[in-house]
């Protein structure tokens, strides 16, 4: 793939030829080669703040740090500020024992150094660590039609589907290089044809489906293709409320992690469908029905990797991807009510509710709220639960979650919302049925 078929402007060609330095030329060669693999016709200018998946200073990712050093040493910065995924650990909100803390220090020993690299390259601010950068409190919310080069699968699928922006599912590394050049190769979701749906998913469940389970069923079926989902507006309505946004966020994250979905359309709900309707369905699309039985089948297919299936979890993570304010308030209210119903004051194990730092700060300003949560054994955290599970010692504990993404990438066991709520207050899920 040495011959350059992608059409470059004279300025782009000059960068590729090394007129602005060897390192920028290497960056350009990377994104041009990347674009050629997808028959991209040209590069487009990307606009606004970018978002990167790599937020963690894991000792193991040495080649990435070396690449960052090369870029920084060459005096390069991103064209616009950027946000990144959540930090891997926050000891003030997630208690760990001294040995686990030691291992966190070993696994993420480069965190401080890496954050210096991020700042040098153009990190937006100290609070820019979240997978849900598009929440209004965080403010990295792309406009409809904006060209981006984002990574983080859950953010990519949200930006494309719910906001109508245009980004491919870029990997860590390529995202940074595109942001430095301010360019991305035009292919896939950046084109009209790449946004056509090749699957029609008909939701025919008897009640509103669990978003995380529905996303999993869709992702496992369509993998990297684009689904056009019908039947959801019956449950969600047609307005884009915080409840609907939260549903779509969680469904999308599951489609992206259980499969490789980077864009979905929901009939009468998501913005491109409002503009184009069924014109978004590609000729010859396939159809798949998701009903109660299919969701049950998918749920039962998940392996449980706890050593002891009847174990009481040591910790529960809610908020992968990070919770919006509506969800955070909802969980606090539901946990509080469930504790009252069961006549107890504290959850049976620590419960971590993950949310962006900008939202966490709003709650942390109120000492009464924090005291109330502490008394309930609940914490508002800003970490990435997935990164937490990268600590081999921490991951040995039985951990429960309502996140299908966290289930996919770790040994955390997945429970649906009602079951996990019961688990929190009683230590037992599913009305006494501990393991499915």
């Amino acid at each position: 793939m040495t011959e350059i078929k992608l059409k470059l402007t004279p300025d782009e060609q000059a960068i590729l030829d090394g007129k602005q330095g060897e390192i920028l030329a290497k960056a350009m060669r990377s994104i041009v080669t990347y674009g050629q693999a997808f028959n991209a016709d040209r590069l487009v200018d990307i606009v606004g703040d970018q978002h990167f998946v790599t937020s963690f200073g894991a000792n193991t990712i040495k080649p990435y740090f070396a690449m960052m050093d090369e870029l920084i040493d060459a005096g390069l910065k991103t064209k616009e500020p950027f946000t990144v995924d959540p930090r891997p650990i926050e000891y003030s909100s997630v208690n760990v024992n001294p040995i686990q803390k030691l291992v966190f220090g070993l696994v993420f020993g480069k965190q401080a150094d890496y954050e210096k690299q991020l700042k040098a390259l153009g990190l937006k601010n100290e609070n820019a660590f979240t997978c849900t950068c598009y929440f209004p409190e965080v403010g990295n919310t792309p406009k409809y039609g904006s060209m981006l080069a984002w990574s983080e699968s859950s953010a990519v699928v949200y930006a494309n589907s719910v906001l109508g922006a245009r980004t491919n599912r870029n990997s860590a590394g390529i995202d940074v290089l595109c942001a430095i050049l301010g360019k991305a190769p035009r292919f896939g979701f950046l084109t009209d044809e790449g946004r056509q749906a090749t699957w029609k998913i008909e939701v025919k469940t008897s009640k509103i489906p669990n978003a995380q389970l529905l996303g999993s069923a869709i992702g496992l079926k369509v993998m990297e293709e684009v689904p056009y989902i019908t039947g959801l507006d019956k449950f969600l309505g047609k307005e884009m409320t915080p409840t609907v946004e939260a549903f779509l966020k969680d469904m999308g994250a599951a489609t992206a992690s259980n499969g490789a979905v980077g864009l979905y359309h929901v009939e009468n709900v998501t913005p491109e469908v409002r503009n184009l309707g069924e014109k978004l369905l590609a000729p010859g699309y396939q159809t798949f029905v998701v009903d109660d039985a299919e969701l049950e089948r998918v749920y039962k297919s998940y392996p449980v990797l706890w050593k002891n299936l009847d174990a009481e979890p040591k910790r529960i993570f809610i908020g992968c991807p990070h919770l919006n304010r509506y969800q955070l308030d909802g969980w606090i209210e539901r946990i509080s009510a469930a504790l009252k119903v069961h006549g107890v004051t504290r959850t049976a194990m620590p419960v971590s509710l993950s949310t962006p730092p900008d939202i966490a700060d709003l709650y942390r300003k109120d000492p009464e709220v924090i005291a109330k949560l502490k008394a309930m054994n609940v914490s508002i955290s800003t970490i990435c639960p997935l990164m937490y599970m990268n600590n081999p010692l921490a991951a040995m504990d039985p951990i429960a979650t309502n996140s299908n993404k966290l289930r996919t990438y770790s040994k955390a066991r997945f429970f649906q919302d009602d079951d996990i709520l019961e688990l929190m207050v009683t230590g037992t899920a599913g009305k006494g049925e501990k393991a499915q």
């Binding site: 793939m1 290497k26 060669r29 990377s30 080669t33 990347y34 693999a37 997808f38 998946v53 790599t54 894991a58 193991t60 990712i61 040495k62 080649p63 990435y64 070396a66 690449m67 090369e70 696994v107 990574s151 983080e152 699968s153 990519v156 491919n168 599912r169 870029n170 990997s171 860590a172 590394g173 390529i174 995202d175 896939g188 993998m223 990297e224 992206a256 992690s257 499969g259 490789a260 392996p303 990797l305 990268n390 081999p392 996919t408 990438y409 040994k411």
Partner: protein, 147 residues
């Protein structure tokens, strides 16, 4: 008897090796997570959801797959595999390569000067024909031969 398939050479090269076949999407992060965190020289698949590969050794194999799926750290994981030296010899895609795998192999090639040979668009018949453990050879022009 040999069977030959012709694909598109993304990162060209000649090599021979033992096939390791994933019929479902290959989740790069989930598959290599343990091996990358521990920097193991020999990587066993840690993806609980991959019934074909779970717990099988992937290092130095010819990884045959439809596409990669999952986290957008996928490319970074591939770079790290190449840095550790526990990567597969080659990746043979039945479908066109996906954006995460493409980023990983291209960045490894350009920034680390470590090449995983990659051929894509080999077709569904290729993935149906090739079996784990079979000898596979790859030619510069993207021709893949199953012994």
């Amino acid at each position: 008897m040999t069977t030959t398939f012709k694909g598109r050479s993304i990162l060209s090269g000649n090599c021979q090796g033992e096939a390791l076949v994933s019929h479902g999407g290959f989740n790069t992060l989930a598959s290599y997570q343990t091996a990358v965190v521990l920097r193991s020289k020999k990587a066993s698949c840690s993806d609980q959801n991959n019934v074909d590969l779970y717990k099988k050794v992937m290092t130095d194999k010819i990884l045959c797959l439809p596409q990669t799926i999952g986290s957008t750290t996928g490319g970074l994981v591939i770079m790290t595999m190449c840095d550790i030296g526990n990567q597969p010899k080659a990746m043979l895609f039945s479908k066109p390569i996906d954006s995460l795998a493409a980023a990983g192999v291209i960045l490894s090639d350009i920034w680390l000067e470590k090449r995983i040979i990659v051929v894509d668009s080999l077709g569904e018949d290729f993935l149906n024909a090739v079996k784990t453990g079979e000898a596979v050879s790859i030619a510069e022009d993207g021709t893949v031969t199953i012994a």
